[in-house]
C-alpha cells in the first residue's frame, strides 16, 4: 500500500500542476518537467509520487525513442488531477470546489 497524504498545494506543486495543464493529453517526462518548472529532481519526484498517491497523476513506461536508451517513465494528469489543476489556474475566490475534488480522488 502506498502513502496516502493530505493534499498540500505548495508553490512547487502548483507550478508543476499548471505546467502539466499546458498539454494535458501528452505524457511528460521527469527531466522535461524539471526544466519547465525549474524544480530540482529532489523536489519534483516527491511531488510526483504524492500526486500519484492521491490519484491526481497517472504514469506509464514509454519505450525508448532511440536505440541504446532505456525505457522512460512518463506522467500525465488524471481527470481528477486535471480538474484540480484547473482550479489552481483560476483566481482564489473561485476555488471553492477544490477540496471537494481532492476528497473525491482520495
Amino acid at each position: 500500500m502506498v502513502m496516502a497524504r493530505q493534499p498540500n498545494v505548495s508553490r512547487q506543486t502548483q507550478a508543476l500542476l499548471i505546467a502539466m495543464l499546458e498539454e494535458p493529453s501528452h505524457w511528460r517526462h521527469g527531466y522535461d518537467l524539471s526544466r519547465q518548472t525549474a524544480l530540482k529532481s529532489g523536489t519534483l519526484y516527491p511531488i510526483l509520487m504524492r500526486l500519484s498517491d492521491q490519484g491526481l497523476l497517472e504514469s506509464k513506461w514509454l519505450e525508448p525513442e532511440r536505440p541504446g536508451k532505456p525505457a522512460r517513465h512518463a506522467y500525465r494528469l488524471t481527470p481528477n488531477g486535471l480538474a484540480f489543476a484547473r482550479t489552481l489556474s483560476v483566481p482564489a475566490p473561485q476555488r471553492a470546489g477544490r477540496r471537494k475534488i481532492i476528497g473525491a480522488s482520495a
Partner: protein
C-alpha cells in the same frame, strides 16, 4: 565527453543507484524512473545535480515511510532541544534579575555559560537592555515551553506556537543588536572561530532546523498502512 566528464557521469549513475537502494520497496518504479532520466540528460553536471536530487528525494521518502517523526519516542527526543531553546530565552532575563537582586552565585553560574565565561562583562549591557526587550525574551521562552508541552501532547498547534516563539526571538535579536552596549559586550580582543562563528551560526540555524522538523511532523499525515 572528456575523462573528467565521464567521472562525473559515473558518479551521477552511482548516486542514482544508491538512491534506488534507499527508496522503500513500494517505490521501486519511482527509483527506476529517477535513475533512467539521467540517460537523457546531456550535461554531466546536470546529470550529477539530478542524481543528488534523487538521493535527497529517496532519503526523504525513506524517512516518511519509516514514519519516525510520528513516534512517541521522537516527540520525547525532540522536546529536549525545544526546552533548550526555552532555557536560552530565559538566560538573559534570569541573569539580569540575579544581578539586580545581588544573587551573585546564580549570576556567576549563568555567566559561566556565556561567551567570555563571566557575567561582569555583561553588566553595562544588562543596564542598557530595556525592560520590554527582556519581556520579549520571557514571552518567547514561555512560548517555547508551550510548544514543548504541545509536542509531548502530540498537538498539531506545536508548529504555530514554535514559529511564534521563533519570530519573537528573531525580532528581539534585531532590537538587541541595535543596543550599542551589545556590540561592546560581544567584541573580543582576539578572534575565536568557535566563539565568533560556529556557535552564533549554530544558534541561528538550530531553531530553523527544529522548525523544519516540527513542520514535517505536523504537516505530513501518517501512512495509511
Amino acid at each position: 565527453m572528456n575523462s573528467r566528464g565521464s567521472i562525473i557521469r559515473r558518479l551521477a549513475l552511482a548516486l542514482a543507484r544508491h538512491a534506488a537502494r534507499v527508496l522503500p520497496n513500494a517505490r521501486d518504479a519511482w527509483a527506476k524512473a529517477m535513475g533512467q532520466e539521467i540517460h537523457f540528460i546531456e550535461s554531466d553536471r546536470d546529470a550529477l545535480s539530478w542524481a543528488v536530487g534523487c538521493v535527497l528525494a529517496s532519503y526523504l521518502e525513506r524517512i516518511f515511510a519509516m514514519n519516525l517523526l510520528h513516534t512517541r519516542a521522537a516527540r520525547i527526543v525532540l522536546v529536549f532541544p525545544v526546552l533548550f531553546l526555552a532555557a536560552r530565552e530565559f538566560l538573559a532575563p534570569v541573569l539580569t534579575l540575579a544581578y539586580r537582586l545581588q544573587g551573585t552565585v546564580l549570576a556567576q553560574m549563568l555567566g559561566s555559560v556565556t561567551p567570555g565565561d563571566d557575567y561582569h562583562r555583561f553588566i553595562p549591557l544588562m543596564n542598557a537592555i530595556p525592560f520590554w526587550l527582556q519581556g520579549m525574551w520571557v514571552i518567547s521562552g514561555v512560548l517555547f515551553l508551550a510548544s514543548a508541552w504541545l509536542l509531548l501532547r502530540n498537538n498539531k498547534a506545536v508548529f504555530e506556537i514554535f514559529i511564534l516563539a521563533l519570530a519573537l526571538e528573531l525580532t528581539a535579536m534585531i532590537f538587541e543588536h541595535a543596543v550599542p552596549a551589545y556590540r561592546e559586550a560581544f567584541s573580543f580582543p582576539s578572534p575565536n572561530l568557535r566563539r565568533d562563528v560556529l556557535i552564533p551560526a549554530a544558534n541561528f540555524t538550530f531553531p530553523l532546523v527544529m522548525a523544519g522538523v516540527l513542520w514535517l511532523m505536523t504537516r505530513r499525515t501518517q501512512p495509511s498502512s
